[in-house]
Symmetry: C3
Subunit: 154 residues, 3 copies
Amino acid sequence: MSVVEAKLAALGHTLPEVAAPIAAYVPAVRTGNLVFTSGQLPTVGGTLVATGKLGASVDVETAKAAAQQCALNGLAAIRALIGDLDRIVRVVKVVGFVAVDPSFTNHAAVVNGASELLAACFGDAGAHARSSVGMASLPLDAPVEVELVVEVRD
Amino acid sequence: MSVVEAKLAALGHTLPEVAAPIAAYVPAVRTGNLVFTSGQLPTVGGTLVATGKLGASVDVETAKAAAQQCALNGLAAIRALIGDLDRIVRVVKVVGFVAVDPSFTNHAAVVNGASELLAACFGDAGAHARSSVGMASLPLDAPVEVELVVEVRD
Amino acid sequence: MSVVEAKLAALGHTLPEVAAPIAAYVPAVRTGNLVFTSGQLPTVGGTLVATGKLGASVDVETAKAAAQQCALNGLAAIRALIGDLDRIVRVVKVVGFVAVDPSFTNHAAVVNGASELLAACFGDAGAHARSSVGMASLPLDAPVEVELVVEVRD
């Protein structure tokens, strides 16, 4: 087991299997030493762990846990592509898309669910640049969607 | 004619000319082997092919066709920069911004208009990472905006 | 003083100090020759220069000035990471997230506040790919958030 997956296991997390893509896109693509993931929804076994919008039917703690699940799914997509998460040199960029009622302003607290997981897994190498933004809606009524860019070694 | 443009022609598409930029930004920039495009609106000859929001005045089929036009405009921007679309090694990333009423949840079907065109043009090399998200509004009331990242060879 | 900072000074701008990050992310990350910044809010001394949404309580001129401040903060984040803005070879990509009432359609005019500053600082090397999009809300009720990707030399 890789060091990163051992840390995830110690935190009580397991990486999901990556479902076969059902569309003309894939979960992650490598170019040079960078891997770009698709926007990850907070699914477990194909089912969203929450639906709805922040500032309306979803509270921050629920959405923060969902953002963590998005990050886990992103790591699973990267593992499926490169084989071993220990080959991640650095988490470069995280974009957290949060579905919101227009009155909501605490996006950062939601996206911290992803960022804190990455910090716990990767330490200093997990410290990433990040954008957190509020969406009018997300696919399947998801409350949050997260995409990752990471640098990998051969 | 490049192989990719021949495929586009066989599908009934022609790449538009790229209008001179009217602002302090450009249609596409190369850095190393990556080309980042600007967010592309679904224009033909400078006019939007549709306006409005999904879940309101625009239906999915109309917006899917608009997303295809965005992708065509993105390819045109790349061609204008690198000269020949056959120098695209891989489509790396697509972000599909969909203007929505907050009740809309079928973003994927809209952005498939871009993804399916890229698959038809580039085959396996067209399989990209993708994020699809719902916006409160887009420039000029466009229903969709698409940006591309591609890897190119010299 | 670097050439770029001299140009900023001639325009009446000074780069802010970068506040220590308070979360599990950082203001900017370098990977290879690229630097990705976090989404920058229009703060001065930790306080937003404006709040609210376009098409509602914030007008275009105010938000354009806020977008310029976002760009300044992004440059400050890059300087803190690489030491000297003259090591920027090219501004590659700008994403301008504009908080909007759904009726708003003039996103480009807002994000020009960032683009025009970059053009004034970097000349041809400041001409970037750009996406401008409308958000349901942004963190802390900011009217605009801007992220940058730049290419740097050693």
